[in-house]
């Protein structure tokens, strides 16, 4: 099983698409790095490909209708390939959040959504998944346009995973079980797992549709209604799938989508007195603000999925070529814009030099360019702010005397493309080893024994994920248990199945998304206790 995973993961990371989230393709996708030019002669400066999709939905989805913001204001969403405007999108603010919460409240309190049978809810979610598949090309094109991720990745991995996640949660809808519970006396006790109510959900820009699925899937399966705020960088695809949900038969008001900014729309959702639950994915700093707003308002429970500085540990007995490829993939996938990116690559001293050489060679081969172009492995960073931030960290790496093995500069002169960058001789106290860069910057560090690497890997405020590369079962078991991280991938990385829970230790967040664990975020547990007369047994 593990071997199969690794091989499929490897082949998919060799391929241009890096379809990390699906295992059904990629085995014959070796065309990427061979057919297309390397980043040094990148096509980024060439003519930009026009996406074959219309932007049809730019207004807030409230109570089943697409509406303008109450203020009438809009904001531009930009193409990260060029910095040009794709469309002007309604700018939701407190008043719009109020309207959306009201609609969600009504849809929850009066129904029909939570009053439908679970089987009926699951049928609607299954129909939605079918529609996603039907519209996968438009969705992938829109996602690439707004986000800059490669079209192949969106089309062959993320959109299929979107459908797959909703099928997964459709299957849960009619299997959410409470318990009958033993009592210390003559009582009959049952727990009811009730929907929690109106869920506020704030999603990031790095995987707009997948984050939509991670949040909306379990909330709907459990019978909740939703106000979702999309990231201001990537508002487009959520509206599109919102429309598909209406088409699938989701009653109005069950899923409301408000585009806008964090400080306005996001803050009013987090502090709303009529929102029963909040879920946020994004930076640790924003997560702190969100938790504070929840505490200051109605103490709504909060699920947080935040930043990371995940270690990727390569032991001396590892298959070095595989480890190099996976470490590369773990960091550079999605332009390095992954919360679980393997951004601290710890390599055992006996294989360190070989590893660094090969990691550099692999990064030099990485193909950067227009994400709509076939064979491209890396598109632009999301926006100028992120671009500047990444460049700042690269400078910091150089200034702190890490060895810049390759990269370090911009690609082309338009948009936000950055060269795949590898630093070696990185020390734990350098900024690039401590902060979440969220860009294509790999830091390689040297270690000499297991105890040391466990200590150093855990010496971070984050605890989202980790990779362990070894053939030794004892090392694998011991390190898996010792790492303080919500996910440990052994001889693989970024395996994101629907059923595998994901979430952080420490300041990487709280709660788990995906898998059976994610349902807990959207359920209240009610104990019902009744006396028993003359029971046959207790």
């Amino acid at each position: 099983m593990a071997a199969r995973r690794v091989s499929s993961l490897l082949s998919r990371s060799f391929s241009a698409a890096s379809p990390v989230l699906s295992r059904s393709q990629g085995r014959n996708g070796y065309n990427g790095s061979r057919m297309v030019r390397r980043f040094g002669t990148s096509s980024a400066a060439e003519e930009i490909i026009s996406p074959s999709v219309q932007v049809s939905y730019t207004k807030l989805l409230i109570d089943g209708n697409f509406v303008d913001a109450a203020s009438g204001k809009t904001f531009p969403t930009l193409d990260p390939r060029t910095g040009e405007v794709i469309a002007n999108v309604a700018e939701g603010d407190a008043e719009d959040i109020n309207r959306a919460v009201k609609a969600a409240r009504k849809a929850f309190d009066e129904g029909p959504w939570p009053k439908m049978t679970a089987y009926e809810r699951s049928r609607i979610m299954l129909r939605f998944a079918d529609l996603v598949e039907k519209h996968s090309e438009e969705l992938a094109a829109l996602e690439t346009w707004d986000n800059g991720k490669t079209y192949e990745q969106a089309k062959t991995a993320e959109i299929p995973m979107l459908a797959r996640l909703f099928r997964y949660y459709a299957g849960w809808a009619d299997k959410i079980h409470g318990l009958t519970v033993p009592a210390d006396g003559n009582y009959h006790v049952q727990t009811l797992h009730e929907p929690i109510g109106v869920a506020g959900q704030i999603i990031p820009w790095n995987f707009p549709l997948l984050m939509f699925a991670w949040k909306v899937g379990p909330a709907l399966a459990c019978g909740n209604t939703i106000v979702l705020k999309t990231a201001e960088q990537t508002p487009l695809t959520a509206f599109y799938v919102g429309k598909l949900f209406l088409e699938a038969g989701l009653p109005p008001g069950v899923l409301n989508i408000v585009s806008g900014f964090g400080a306005t729309a996001g803050a009013s959702l987090a502090s709303h007195m009529d929102v029963d639950k909040l879920a946020f994915t994004g930076s640790t700093d924003t997560g702190k603000v969100i938790l504070g707003l929840a505490a200051n308002s109605n103490l709504k429970p909060v699920t947080l999925e935040l930043g990371g500085k995940s270690p990727f540990i390569v032991f001396e007995d590892a298959d070095i070529d595989k480890a190099v490829e996976l470490a590369h993939f773990a960091l550079f996938f999605n332009q390095g814009q992954c919360c679980c990116a393997g951004s601290r690559t710890y390599v055992h001293e006996r294989v360190y030099d070989e590893f660094v050489e090969k990691a550099k060679a692999r990064a030099l081969k990485r193909v950067v360019g227009d994400p709509f172009k076939k064979g491209i492995e890396q598109g632009p960073q999301i926006d100028s702010k992120q671009f500047e931030k990444v460049m700042k960290y690269i400078r910091s790496g150089v200034e702190s005397n890490a060895t810049l093995e390759c990269g370090g500069g911009q690609v082309g002169d338009k948009g936000y493309f950055i060269q795949p960058t590898v630093f070696s001789n990185v020390k734990d106290d350098m900024l690039i080893a401590q902060d979440e860069i969220f860009g294509p910057v790999q830091s390689i560090l040297k270690f000499s024994d297991v105890d040391e690497v466990i200590r150093r890997a855990n010496n971070t405020r984050y605890g989202l994920a980790a990779g362990v590369f070894t053939k030794n079962i004892d090392t694998a078991n011991r390190v898996s248990r010792a790492l303080k991280a919500g996910t440990v991938w052994v001889n693989c990385f970024d395996v994101f199945d629907a059923a595998i829970p994901f979430g952080g230790y420490k300041m990487s967040g709280n709660g788990r998304e995906k898998g059976i664990y994610s349902l807990n975020n959207y359920l209240q547990v009610k104990a019902v206790v009744t006396p028993l007369n003359n029971p046959a047994w207790i």
């Binding site: 295992r23 679970a118 089987y119 699951s122 049928r123 299954l126 797959r164 099928r167 997964y168 459709a170 299957g171 849960w172 809808a173 009619d174 299997k175 079980h177 009959h188 079962i473 004892d474 078991n477 011991r478 248990r481 010792a482 629907a498 059923a499 059976i516 009744t530 006396p531 028993l532 007369n533 003359n534 029971p535 046959a536 047994w537």
Partner: protein, 501 residues
């Protein structure tokens, strides 16, 4: 007609019979012997079609195909989600063929055509969708080992090749209830439908091919119990047999399993389920539930409420109401939408039921209504109610599997519980009362796998169902059903220097 209005023969469009051969390894084939048997229309006793008569040799071929599909094929090696996609496709195809499937069960089993369309076939698709959703939710556990240096976990593995032997009373639902969880678990299988109702199973086999199941995953062998059924139960290469039917045959199956390879056995057998109506019940509703519970599907249902106990304070009123309502219980052609009851499945059942009615009369029970066959063609019987039935009578003790109700009076809650449990069976029970204390006490006291409170036949996809005592040894429906098709494997290994245990 004294009771049970009988409507005339309806002229519904009868289904064309397209599939009559065994389905083995993805192909429809004749029986190795070349033999066939007749499947009969219970409305008139006429032959519908000749069906391939599978025997040991055919079962061997089917098991070989299933074995190969399990040991070497893609099915158990697919992800749960990939299996789910195919099961969902299968479900969509079944849904597109509801009319035809309902018609096949109606003509073959005498089942109401309308009920098939709105009840049986949608229930079958529900099972398939439910277990498609379960296929990627089969979890083992990581363990909290008590020894200091061990790490352990469990894997839930598909059990292997499964033999399913299904009855004739709900051909479609029983097919789905057994096949769907086994598919989700990753098993391959040989299905033997009842010789009375082979038609829909063969149609389901045809649809399975269209849905894209790999060859050998689902095989259907039509034939008789003592030949084909026995070959499955005693096959050395079948890992698990699942049977729904009578308690006597269940015992034979278990013996065959014991005498061969000790294969695991799931049995869902007979019942003599009590319905307890307490003094505080709504008379009208209680009478409706009692009639439905006993006469639904012409009493050919293992959970039939064939013993109705009424508390003395309300007894006379309930009896009066039931007799009145029984007269409106229309018996007639199952293709007629006004019919509530079609013919019994075959001559043998028909004669068995009439003989029980004679026993009831001879043993001194009071016949309140019914008691006769209807018409001179086919196997129609009047809804029949006996009062003053005592615990020593045959109609109190035996599963009749026909529209015959035994009515008894009881005084206290304790007596009601005692009466309800006074049976070798323990499949289901009904309670009609508004009193929460009575309901809670009685629910826990009755030895039965399913308790329906102020309802009956409240089957649900998510609700497990099965018997205590001689009603069987497994649970079907719900997530519990998966356990019948899974092996639990524990894995342990040394663990060094773990920071926690």
């Amino acid at each position: 007609m004294e009771n049970g209005k009988c409507n005339g023969g309806a002229t519904a469009k009868l289904p064309e019979i397209k599939f009559t051969k065994l389905f083995i390894n993805g192909k429809f084939v004749d029986a190795a012997s070349g033999k066939t048997f007749e499947t009969i229309d219970p409305r008139n006793g006429e032959v519908i079609a000749k069906i391939a008569e599978g025997d040991k040799e055919d079962v061997d071929l089917a098991v070989n195909a299933a074995r190969h599909a399990f040991d070497h094929g893609p099915w158990p090696r697919m992800t749960g989600f990939e299996r789910a996609r195919i099961i969902n496709k299968y479900t969509d195809l079944i849904e597109q063929n509801i009319e035809e499937l309902a018609a096949l069960d109606a003509i073959d089993g005498g089942k109401l055509f309308q009920m098939g369309k709105v009840g049986d076939i949608p229930a079958a698709t529900g099972h398939f969708r439910y277990y498609a959703g379960a296929a990627d939710k089969i979890h083992g556990e990581t363990l909290r080992m008590t020894r200091p240096s061990l790490f352990g976990y469990t894997l839930k593995e598909p059990i292997g090749v499964v033999g399913h032997i299904i009855p004739w009373n709900f051909p479609s639902i029983m097919y789905a209830m057994k096949v769907a969880p086994a598919l989700a678990a990753g098993c391959t299988m040989v299905v033997k439908p009842a010789e009375q109702t082979p038609l829909s199973a063969l149609f389901y086999a045809h649809l399975s091919k269209e849905a894209g199941f790999p060859d050998g995953v689902i095989n259907v062998v039509t034939g008789f119990g003592p030949t084909a059924g026995a070959a499955i139960a005693s096959h050395m290469d079948i890992d698990k047999v699942s049977f729904t039917g009578s308690t006597d045959v269940g015992r034979t199956i278990m013996q065959a399993a014991a005498a061969s390879n000790l294969k695991k056995v799931s049995l869902e057998l007979g019942g003599k389920s009590p319905l307890l109506i307490f003094d505080d019940a709504d008379v009208n509703k209680a009478a409706d539930l009692a009639l439905l519970g006993c006469f639904y599907n012409k009493g050919e249902i293992c959970v039939a409420s064939s013993r109705v106990f009424v508390q003395e304070g309300i007894y006379d009123k309930v009896v009066e109401k039931m007799v009145e309502k029984a007269k409106d219980w229309t018996v007639g052609d199952p293709f007629d939408s006004t019919s509530r009851q079609g013919p019994q499945v075959d001559k043998k059942q028909f004669e068995k039921i009439l003989s029980y009615i004679e026993h009831g009369k001879n043993e001194g029970a009071t016949l309140l209504t019914g008691g006769n066959a209807i018409g001179d063609k086919g196997y129609y019987i009047e809804p029949t109610i006996f009062a003053d039935v005592t615990e020593d009578m045959k109609i109190y003790k035996d599963e009749i599997f026909g529209p015959v109700m035994s009515l008894m009076k009881f005084k206290t809650v304790e007596e009601g519980i005692k009466c309800a449990n006074n049976t070798k069976y323990g499949l289901a029970a009904g309670i009609v009362s508004q009193n929460v204390d009575v309901i809670n006490t009685v629910s826990r006291s009755i030895k039965a796998g399913v308790i329906w409170v102020n309802c009956y036949f409240a089957f649900d996809l998510d609700s497990p169902y099965g018997g205590y005592k001689m009603s069987g040894n497994c649970r079907e429906s719900g997530m519990d059903a998966l356990d019948s098709y899974l092996q639990v494997k524990s894995i342990a290994m040394p663990l060094h220097n773990s920071p926690w245990l």
